[in-house]
Amino acid sequence: MRDFYYLIPIALVLGVAGLLVFLWSLRNGQYEDLDGAAERILLDDDVPLKEPGKLKD
């Protein structure tokens, strides 16, 4: 009967995880260019980056 004693923490932890992911994405600039992101999926990224091996900014 006391099952919810551990179900509640699980629910809260999941909620907090969602919140943190949202805050991270906000800070990470995921919402900076919503229109651009929608269009970019259509681009072919076949062109090699200028400095191969250095994928991160």
Partner: protein
């Protein structure tokens, strides 16, 4: 401006900033980016340049950020130009936003999380959890609510505290008191194993109110981004002739009186100065409102901001940037702004009555219950319940929701409202003052009686004119295009600054320009622009600054609303009168900037609420002084920043349209305030009688908020009218979605 030059590499360097040793970064505004293909192309073109480390385009803001190695900027503007994209420097200084929107979104996320989870626990309590579980749920709720209040509640607490410290009150004062008391009482109840806790009310209240506040900011941010995306006007620097004959590019602030500044055709004059060498024509339409280009020679004085149309000029600076015309306008604007009576927004005015009313009610409830029952705990509980139920949740949403929806609708018509207060003030406006040049008129000369020109002459003139950037040449070339004049082979084309164009076709010499120059032997000494063949007159061209699209309809619509309209222009008497009589409105001509402000002050003194519509530098103080102001997108930068509302499309019907929507919004705001008050009239007696449980509070609060929001949406759902300004797709909209970034 069509004659504006693209960005020079010196300007690029000045505007860039160093992000890492040897790595400089710059933001360019590229308004022509529309689609995925454009992004790819812009990025490919820029990344292909030597020394460019990375280029990242942002489609929402129409900007591209480029980082490069070394001290010398790559030819970014030229590369973009070749790819068919116009680019402007993005002013990094104006980018220094306070990040309020990011803070609000984070606060909203936290409040949403807390409200959702506490509500989940509360539903369990309401459905009859046993006492032990209830206490546990209350403690959990308290643990979630406390950080939420500390984080999300700050937005309201800080603003309320500021108002209180200045001895005023605003909507945030009752909100803060309600939320804090609800939390405090619930904590007390929880500790004493009481049955009723209002944690859900406290957090969902914050959540609802933050939605309203965030939307309000999104709207403002979007308008700000859109307005900033427009081309800048003020020159950032200029080439200065050094003592040894070399040239050096200096920022405007470093130009001192006495320095010799070199100006190419198409440059704007950076500081006030006097011409020492060269002859040209200048376009002062944005500075003084003059609609006709003025020829200038050595010795003439130039005001900062005028555009050099003709040949190269050497100008001796007579004032530093901070003493120039532009700076003077800024100072006048600040004075005018300070003189304007501070506008109190509707919500704040409502709060002035609302807050004392609910606090008195709550106190009276406490006293009443004390007298009747003598039970202090019961009396306090009921009094706090009154505060919770009257906490202006619906009231806090009533105004921003309507304004967001109204701004959204205006936005779809290319009208940017910088804040909600401007919308309220626009609805109050009852007198309209127009500037002429660039506002009522297009600011660009057009050919008059074009159909009377012989096709042969027009073909020659259009062919010659297409080689020049002078506004008159552009008008002739445009007419040639319109009538599809046949191409004429020309040779030896040369442009004489301040005079005209000379060219050879076959064995005949043609001149297109001022009559005195093109017809040296003519007995008919009438001035004007002519085309001559071997010194003989072929035809005359006359120009007029054409009315902006929709100007007549706009004036008629304003008059139909019963708003007096008048023209106050800095231009000469004759052109102003011509426009005024064609539109049948009273006018004042040759008005200097200070007198424009004075005219608005006179109108304001008689109780009129003036809407000023203007675009020039000389209008800026008047824009700031007026009750509310609008400017076209083509306006001078500082004018656009001073105006409350900026319209992007050419059509002047934006003005009556904006007024109409603002008035409609005012009607809905009033309805919403009435709804909120009606809700209180119903809920307060229940609360005073001590019948409010957390369940009742939650239902009442949500219901009233939803009602207010739904009412606001009626403005958006109304069928679109036929008379809306030309629906030109989504181009001018797409630039405008704001970036909700944390870092911005």
């Amino acid at each position: 401006m069509p004659t504006e030059q693209s960005v020079t590499s010196e300007e690029l360097l000045l505007a860039s900033r160093e992000v890492a040793p040897g790595l400089r970064q710059i933001e360019l505004s590229v308004p022509g980016m529309h689609c995925g293909a454009c992004i790819a192309r812009v990025e490919r073109v820029l990344s292909g340049l030597p020394a460019v480390e990375r280029a990242r385009a942002n489609l929402s803001t129409r900007r591209v950020s480029v980082a490069w190695h070394g001290d010398k900027p790559p030819a970014l503007a030229e590369a973009l130009d070749d790819a068919g994209f116009e680019s402007h420097l993005h002013d990094a200084a104006s980018e220094a936003t306070d990040g309020t929107l990011g803070r609000l979104v984070r606060a909203l996320a936290v409040a949403g999380f807390a409200a959702g989870n506490i509500m989940m626990l509360s539903v369990a309590v309401w459905s009859g959890a046993d006492a032990e579980s209830r206490d546990l749920f209350h403690w959990l709720s308290a643990a979630i609510a406390l950080p939420c209040l500390a984080y999300s509640g700050r937005v309201f607490f800080a603003s309320a505290w500021q108002a209180l410290r200045r001895g005023r009150t605003n909507m945030d004062v009752p909100i803060s008191i309600g939320v804090l008391l609800a939390f405090g009482m619930s904590l007390y109840e929880t500790i004493h194993h009481g049955p009723h806790a209002y944690f859900d009310a406290a957090t969902s209240l914050l959540f609802f109110l933050l939605i309203g506040r965030t939307l309000d900011h999104v709207m403002r941010e979007r308008a700000r981004t859109a307005v900033e995306g427009l081309a800048r006007l003020a020159p950032r620097g200029a080439s200065v002739l050094q003592a040894d004959g070399s040239q050096r590019y200096l920022p405007v602030e470093e130009i001192r009186p006495g320095m010799a500044v070199l100006l190419a055709a198409g440059d704007r004059v950076p500081v006030d100065g006097r011409i020492v060498d060269g002859r040209s024509e200048i376009d002062g339409s944005l500075v003084s409102g003059e609609s006709v280009p003025r020829p200038v020679v050595a010795g003439d004085r130039l005001q900062a901001g005028v555009l050099n149309l003709g040949g190269p000029l050497t100008v001796e600076a007579t004032a530093a940037a901070r003493d120039s015309f532009l700076a003077e306008m800024t100072r006048m604007m600040e004075t005018a702004e300070a003189g304007r009576t501070a506008y109190r927004r509707i919500a704040d005015r409502a709060a002035r009555f609302y807050a004392p009313a609910i606090h008195v009610t709550a106190f009276a409830t406490f006293v009443g219950w004390m007298i009747l029952t003598g039970d202090a705990h019961r009396a306090i509980t009921v009094a706090i319940a009154v505060l919770i139920i009257t906490c202006p949740c619906a009231l806090g949403l009533a105004v921003p929701m309507v304004q967001v929806v109204a701004a959204r609708r205006l936005f779809e018509s290319g009208i940017m409202v910088k804040d909600g207060g401007a919308l309220e003030r626009l609805a109050e406006a009852d007198h309209v003052v127009f500037d002429k040049t660039g506002t009522l008129t297009g600011g660009v000369p057009q050919l008059v009686d074009a159909d009377g020109i012989a096709p042969g002459s027009l073909a020659v003139a259009a062919a010659m004119a297409s080689r020049s950037r002078h506004p008159y040449s552009r008008a002739i070339a445009a007419e040639g295009l319109r009538r599809q004049s046949p191409a004429v082979a020309l040779a030896d084309i040369s442009e004489q600054p301040g005079a005209g164009l000379k060219a050879r076709a076959g064995d005949k010499v043609y001149r297109l320009g001022r009559a005195e120059w093109a017809l040296p032997t003519a007995e008919d000494g009438r001035p004007g622009v002519v085309l001559s063949e071997e010194g003989r007159l072929l035809c005359r061209f006359s120009f007029a600054d054409g009315l902006r699209a929709g100007a007549e309809e706009a004036i008629a619509a304003l008059k139909a609303k019963g708003m007096p309209v008048e023209i106050v222009s800095g231009d000469h008497r004759e052109p102003v009168h011509r426009v005024a009589s064609s539109l049948d409105v009273p006018c004042l001509a040759g008005v200097p900037p200070a007198a424009k402000v004075a005219r608005i002050a006179v109108l304001a003194a008689t109780g009129r609420k003036v809407l000023m519509v203007g675009d020039g530098l000389n209008d800026t103080p008047a824009l700031a002084a007026a009750h509310v102001s609008m400017a076209p997108a083509s306006a001078a930068d500082i004018g656009r920043n001073a105006a409350d509302i900026v319209f992007l499309r050419d059509d002047l019907r934006a003005v009556p349209q904006a007024i109409e929507i603002a008035r409609e919004a005012r009607g809905l705001v009033r309805q919403n305030l009435l709804l909120a008050v009606a809700y209180n009239v119903l809920a307060v007696p229940i609360a005073v009688l001590g019948q409010v449980t957390p369940l009742v509070a939650a239902i009442a609060m949500s219901a009233s908020s939803i009602m207010v929001v739904a009412n606001a949406l009626r403005l958006g759902w109304r069928p679109k009218r036929g008379d809306r300004a030309t629906p030109s797709g989504h181009d001018d909209l797409a630039a405008l979605r704001p970036a909700v970034g944390a870092g911005r």
